[in-house]
Symmetry: C2
Subunit: 308 residues, 2 copies
């Protein structure tokens, strides 16, 4: 029996990951700092990733064949305000999982999630061989996690997979991320029935946005793959500027919408261009995206239109 | 007036750093987790680097022109046992200093200490352009510190210097480090007046050992230098195998000494060769070592011979 334990079920990606795994025949055990919020899973554990005893107890009790760690502080902007918490959760918390699997002497496959923010600024699509050199605390925390995975894999021979994920979104993502923020603001203006104003950060930057459902399918394929020494990039390969996304969101409303730059949303150092070369995972694992980002944006907008 | 604040005065290097600075006309303020142990300094503060409030209060009160951070978990072997504490102290603690200087709006020059353990394994002497790729938790923590220095320097325009230091030793270094450990064991056998046995780890590895007095002089020269964007390597440039060091220590005793490998002293992953190319600091700042490592070993041995 395939038993998956997911850390970070209180976050955005957890529910999607669980759905993906359940559809593939896994028993799913969920782990979160937060109290149980539904009972569709085979187990729900209240567990703080930063508490090594709690982490070890859950892993020992479940005895998972697969572990996916989605817990972490994943917002680049927030990482400038709370760098230390970003490091503690993203690095030290992940180490708690790795050490627990080793101490419990389990054969679990483990997936740890890195980020495109680890790569040095480049005007070309980023492949797995591109230069690593993060420019913000979030990116540094993920770089460090990747290095820890490497040395722990070598030291203990663990089945420790690592993936660098590019931007992704979907219904349920926190509205301090750009796409939900805009969809929410525009839906609010539409529902008000009057013209309105919305606040945005830097519109010139270009990113590679995926639908979260494509991302979690890649995660499942990676953790099921045999060679855990390969770090894959996961991203659609489609570049889009935030301005294009904004224009699309605004076009969904029948109201007049003006746009203002909010200096609080501008980051001190920001890569102008981040795009994914995902040839490796396409070639090796046969993964490819099934969703379009503009349709995804429409889904999120509709979610906020229907929300009371 | 030049006012230096030294964090980590409870450790090995602190006293040497303070002596170097006092001889160069600095007022010296000392900071340590531990209680005051002498009163030769202009001030002594009991302060935990991991407590951001305490760090900020000390920095605000002293208003230092120069800050040297010597606090940290600096033992590679121990970093495998307590990786999380190594990260918290070496990275998060250092961030507390940087953020305090920024929040207090001070113009202090700051020196943060990195390590040769950040570099990828190489059979050549390591220059500042050599590839960074740590293979143990200690090295990863220092890599991360270096990256944080870079992004904080860019973000806030702080005078934040970074240096990568190679192995160094001297009287007062903790005997869980190799040279003091051996000097202490051999001195103990000598004083017993009988043949004895000592325990060692891997003897084949080659390192670049300096006398700590050379290292702190380099630190003073670096923190006084104008361009803080240059990361210097500091090391003697002289390679020596641990076997040569061991033979020298053993030769200082008049007793018969047998040597046993202790598997607890073998590390899971260890670079066989680490040597420093210190051309840059020699050329730019005129630094060069004044002490020989074999004489330094003799000094440490004599210290243990005289100790009761």
């Amino acid at each position: 029996m395939k038993k998956a334990l997911i850390f970070g079920m209180g976050g955005f990606v957890g529910k999607y990951m669980a759905d993906e795994l359940m559809q593939s025949g896994y028993e799913v055990y969920a782990c979160s700092r937060f109290d149980k919020h539904d009972n569709v899973y085979d187990g729900w554990y209240n567990c703080d990733l930063n508490n090594s005893e709690q982490v070890k107890n859950v892993i020992a009790e479940v005895g998972p064949t697969h572990i996916i760690n989605l817990a972490g502080q994943s917002n680049v902007g927030i990482s400038w305000r709370i760098p230390k918490l970003t490091i503690e959760t993203n690095v030290c918390g992940a180490i708690n999982i790795i050490e627990a699997v080793h101490e419990c002497d389990l054969d679990s496959s483990i997936l740890m999630i890195g980020s495109s923010e680890e790569y040095d600024a480049s005007d070309k699509a980023l492949s797995e061989n591109s230069k690593i050199n993060a420019s913000n605390p979030y990116g540094i925390s993920k770089m460090m996690l990747g290095l820890f995975c490497e040395i722990y894999r070598k030291r203990y021979g663990l089945k420790l997979h690592y993936v660098r994920t590019f931007n992704h979104t979907g219904i349920g993502q926190n509205d301090n991320f750009v796409i939900p923020s805009w969809c929410k603001q525009v839906a609010s203006i539409t529902k008000s029935g009057k013209p309105g104003c919305m606040y945005v950060g830097n519109l010139d930057i270009v990113r590679d946005f995926s639908n979260v459902k494509d991302i979690v399918r890649a995660y499942r394929m990676i953790i099921e793959s045999k060679d855990c020494s390969i770090t894959y990039n996961v991203g659609s390969g489609n570049q889009v500027s935030l301005k294009e996304i904004l224009n699309h969101v605004v076009s969904l409303s029948d109201q007049q919408i003006s746009v203002q730059i909010d200096s609080k949303l501008l980051r001190p150092i920001e890569n102008p261009y981040i795009c994914c070369d995902s040839s490796l995972i396409r070639d090796r694992l046969g993964w490819k995206p099934q969703y379009n980002i503009f349709e995804t944006v429409e889904e999120i907008y509709q979610y906020y239109m229907n929300k009371h």
